[in-house]
Point group: C2
Chain length 677, copies 2
């Protein structure tokens, strides 16, 4: 069997091999929190990519993070798969590894049996014998200064289901048990001063059984069938995907979910580098209710739980339509087995409307060409929320990260007549959905046109500095793109500016366009860029330093992947982990070197009843667009639907007609008026 591509995720056999080596060396009583492929060292990897037949294959190394049971000691190690040996093994102090679904699931059992929790449930109005109707969403505690980070804690957000099929989020409870994973016990309960007993309003559920009771489903939606009788236009070879001049390695890990490596674009036979690596690397969801203990609700869904660990198994014709390829993901289980997430990634094409069109008004010559897009999708469920993360590739070289937020609001109980004080919204009687932000961090390591020598420029649309009436701007209409090169990591910390519709350009300054005289670049166009609303010096601000600015730029270093730190649960933010450590005094040059962009974008969500009991997807997108990169429009060789030149209009012949013969004309129901069909 061929060796794995160095970027490949660990196979099930590799996970098993790593676990076996670790158990042999360190005993059976280990809980496996991370068993994942270490990102190949870049120097070795780029040498290999440049000459795979000649250069040594980069070392195949696994990262392993375990908790020793029952001591709770945490170890962080590296295991060589090539040499079948442990390369390093370090005991951590005051750092908590990523929390596992298995840990989360377990807390509900503990909570149901805990006498103090039962007492609180009774106080809330739940019968003692109904504890099987009590549920909790355990979250890592975030950080709670009363406990620090040497104990492994979860906070249990409490709910009730009168019936097993009821949505628990409509029956939140007002207290919050704290679970100690080392003791396997509830060690405290946060009880608010103002008590809010269970509010038992009629359920509003979203499953089909509930909808049947409300009168069933609408019957006026006719099916849309999407078929590709000749197959798809993309190819998959191992984890290498190629489509419409793009080629990339598609990886997947426990934490980031989908990872793109070595994205290239075949520019008329010349395979040009675009991005060495691109992925979502972190996110934070701060909630805006300042009352204790809601400040602890600020999930780092990637660093604390893992987009890979939480990935949905996607289903044919359900999460996507058309002709779809899937890739599975292999994850370790806590005891050291392998769990396969079937269909963790889906890959498919969609028609994308008009790619370009022009009609000459004087001679009726026309061209219209339809666009195609490739969608690589993974969906993860973070307790109540769903994140459908799509990476969309466009034929013109544009890459569009696109996220749809759906799922269910996090909720808290509200008394009749109680004021939310503006920190939340009563979306249903007794249900208070708190304000929150979803702030994602995308990490981009460009290697535009090879050489790993890129720079970043701010591009700001600015009016001419010269006044109206002056010789240089007499009519006052002059404007230009002001470009400012970011020189150091300190300067790299930059914010959006709507007044100039700021974009960030990643540039290879050595590749000058022969026509425009400007350097080859990709422009980041991103408009959903809320500021971090937790204040400077706040708990969230300290822990989520990446979110303090729209953009940070660092010089590439191996292992600098996670901007809120490698081990995120229970970090205090004193000092802030990750990005601030790497930026340090801010004096590192980021000019013409191997750079990494850390872009924070997202949404601020003030809930409304329309979001309840399940949220219609809220879309957001950003664009990475080639500028001065291609000699000309790179999609002129996409077959048009219709094309006719001026001379052909005159000659009435030789029209290029590839219009879609499957499309149908629909005659309107009345058809009476002369101006209708």
């Amino acid at each position: 069997m061929a060796p794995p591509h160095p970027f490949d995720p660990l196979s099930p056999a590799e996970i098993e091999a790593v676990v076996s080596l670790v158990k042999k060396a360190h005993g059976e009583g280990l809980l496996f929190h991370v068993v994942t492929a270490q990102e190949p060292r870049k120097a070795a990897m780029t040498a290999w990519l440049a000459a795979p037949a000649v250069a040594p294959r980069p070392a195949r190394v696994a990262e392993v993070v375990v908790i020793s049971n029952p001591s709770g000691t945490v170890y962080d190690g590296l295991v060589s798969l090539d040499e079948s040996k442990i390369l390093s093994w370090e005991q951590l102090e005051g750092e908590q590894p990523i929390i596992l679904m298995e840990e989360l699931q377990h807390v509900e059992e503990v909570v149901r049996k805990d006498p103090a929790v039962i007492e609180q449930c009774v106080l809330s109005g739940i019968a003692r014998e109904d504890m099987h109707k009590v549920y909790c969403d355990p979250w890592t505690i975030g950080y709670d200064e009363r406990f620090g980070n040497k104990v492994r804690l979860q906070q249990a957000l409490m709910y009730y289901r009168p019936d097993i099929d009821n949505t628990q989020y409509q029956y939140p409870l007002d207290f919050c048990p704290i679970y100690d994973g080392n003791k396997d016990a509830i060690v405290a309960i946060d009880i608010p001063k103002q008590r809010r007993p269970l509010q038992l309003f009629a359920p509003l559920d979203y499953h089909h059984i509930a909808q049947y009771k409300r009168g069933g489903f609408r019957k006026d939606l006719k099916p849309i069938n999407i078929t590709q009788p000749e197959g798809v236009s993309f190819g998959i070879d191992g984890n290498i995907v190629s489509w419409q001049n793009f080629k990339f390695h598609l990886g997947f890990n426990y934490r980031e979910g989908v990872v793109f490596n070595n994205i290239t674009f075949n520019d008329q036979g010349n395979e040009r580098d675009l991005f060495y690596r691109m992925s979502l690397v972190e996110m934070v969801v701060p909630y805006g209710n300042p009352e204790h203990p809601h400040q602890r609700k600020h999930a780092f869904d990637l660093g604390e739980y893992g987009a890979g660990y939480m990935a949905n198994s996607l289903s044919l014709g359900c999460d996507c339509k058309g002709s779809i390829s899937y890739i599975d993901a292999a994850m370790p289980t806590r005891v050291g087995g392998v769990r396969t997430i079937k269909n963790a990634i889906c890959i498919h094409e969609e028609d994308d409307g008009i790619l370009f069109k022009h009609t000459d008004f004087r001679d009726d010559s026309t061209i219209v060409t339809r666009a195609r897009k490739l969608i690589v999708q993974s969906i993860f469920t973070a307790a109540n929320y769903e994140y459908a993360v799509q990476w969309i590739f466009h034929q013109d070289g544009t890459i569009e990260p696109n996220i749809r937020l759906t799922g269910i609001l996090n909720t808290y109980v509200l008394l009749p007549g109680e004021d939310t004080h503006g920190w939340g919204t009563q979306v249903y009687p007794g249900v208070n959905a708190h304000n929150h932000q979803h702030l994602f961090c995308m990490r981009i390591n460009p290697n535009l046109d090879g050489g790993h020598q890129n720079s970043v420029f701010l591009s700001d649309a600015c009016a001419s500095e010269e006044p109206v009436g002056s010789a240089g701007n007499y009519y006052g209409n002059g404007f230009y793109a002001k470009r400012t090169r970011l020189e150091t990591t300190g300067e790299g910390a930059t914010d959006y500016d709507w007044t100039t519709m700021r974009t960030w350009d990643m540039v290879n300054e050595s590749k000058i366009h022969p026509y425009s005289g400007k350097a080859a670049s990709y422009k980041l166009v991103s408009r959903e860029v809320p500021q971090l609303l937790p204040k400077e010096g706040s708990l969230v601000w300290k822990r989520a330093a990446f979110a303090r600015h729209t953009m940070h730029v660092t010089k590439y270093a191996d292992d600098q992947l996670y901007p809120a730190g490698r081990h995120v649960p229970q970090t205090s933010g004193e000092p802030s982990k990750g990005l601030p450590e790497w930026i340090g005094d801010g004096k590192d040059s980021i000019v013409n070197t191997d750079i990494v962009l850390w872009h924070t974008f997202g949404l601020t969500h003030f809930p409304a009843p329309e979001d309840y009991p399940v949220m219609p997807a809220e879309p957001m997108m950003l664009l990475l667009r080639p500028r001065h990169f291609f000699l000309s429009n790179p999609v002129m060789d996409v077959p048009p639907s219709y094309s006719i030149t001026p001379s052909q209009v005159l000659a009435k012949k030789d029209v290029y007609d590839a219009t879609d013969k499957m499309s149908k004309l629909v005659v309107s129901s009345s058809g009476s008026c002369c101006s209708k069909l």
Copy 2:
């Protein structure tokens, strides 16, 4: 035959009737620039809509604007179709009506024969006998203080085509003839101080013949077929379109193109008003090169040329895919005939990915429901540019205006080695594409929940005012939506603010949501909102007053439709027409009354070679989203693809499975690795 709906465009027979009445009264020598239905007076119309069987049918009136030939006198009149008589007839002074395609097309003929133009062509390097290879895009002159607005002028942007099938925009000429429509002659030529002769580099054309010569089309795109074997989910009755609880009147006129009237939403049997009228009403495309005479390039494409007059005739399976309905548009010709734009509007549905999804991590209960969208599209060609304007309706009540910009850049000649000074980009040898903005103005007249009593609030995401460590914000995470009611038309002039991710909420303050306690609203989420870059006091700033702010709000008044004035060509901006006139001293109340929102959004475009010779479509979108309007999520009755409750997971039965059986699994080409399919 039933009378037309009062919102209906004029039928061909009505246009003919109006022309005939006018000719009878005012003679044959008239040129018809506008023959269009007057928007019904709102008081009469709302009375009729409320009780169509009882209330009097609103008067059917046509607006007519003519130029008397050869005097050039302009008349603006109203004609009653009910009474077959002219209601008013006013002579205009210093106002120029909209320019017609017929006028534009004619200038090219004049230019080719004009001795002074021929002389300039020869100076540029064109043989005297090659004048048939000389082309021009005539634009209205905008405003030129040397000529004022009592003469009717066009500026001819000059190009050359070595071959009839070459794209002229790659061979721009450096001089600009000015055509006087009253004299039917070239009356001046603007000649730059620095001469730039024709730059005859090899052509780069976009039609299929040129692509054949470059090696033909890519062959790796497999067809995607989209079919609706059971038909479509929308209905069309006359101009009334209904789909998924939405209902609206779909109008079309010479100027705005598509117009929506009386948009309602059937909320569980209750037909609730949303918007009385919505459309694009104006746009301006200022170019950023301050050198004379480029300041005159700032097209008001709607007010000066008309999105309706310039509308493409759309083709089946070419501009759209699937099952498509079309609506034709009837326009007057200049001499008073009727021109039918076949398929001026297309209407079709598309699958829209996931509408909502949730999986419970503890019990594997799941629901996933797919979304559908309805797209109403019109595409217009403004000389070089194409604007594909889509109005997308979503099942959850969201309305998404979505515009794709494509077509060809406006270009000017550049000498070898010449510096663009940052005002443009050399996109191809000898071709300078100037910086420009596309600023659209959308007019929204909400009537949320009836009564025509709405207000507008700014909604700003703000951190709690209380400091970190204070009792009210101890952990510093408090944040809320600060809402500020705009009280007067003066206050209504507001700008975007990225630091608070500002939105504008249209609100019916009398309709309080029973759960949230907040008033029924639609939120405008719009992020592509560049500032007008021509400076305060500049020519463009004076003429395009609507673009000075992201938002203006006025009190509704009949006939206040066009924010840069009713007759836009050759306005001087002294004083500014339209919005500033209506806002006046800014003291009119806009609280709980019939209000109109004027929203400016768009793009600033710094050209790059990728945009040449034809531009891959650049997308932009905004959202109008219901908030506190529906009792709960309004799409729970959309049939899911898949739904299973917790009890069904346990019982392993009764799953709701309507997954798409047309979708196909694609097995990857290698299929070798265990973690792949």
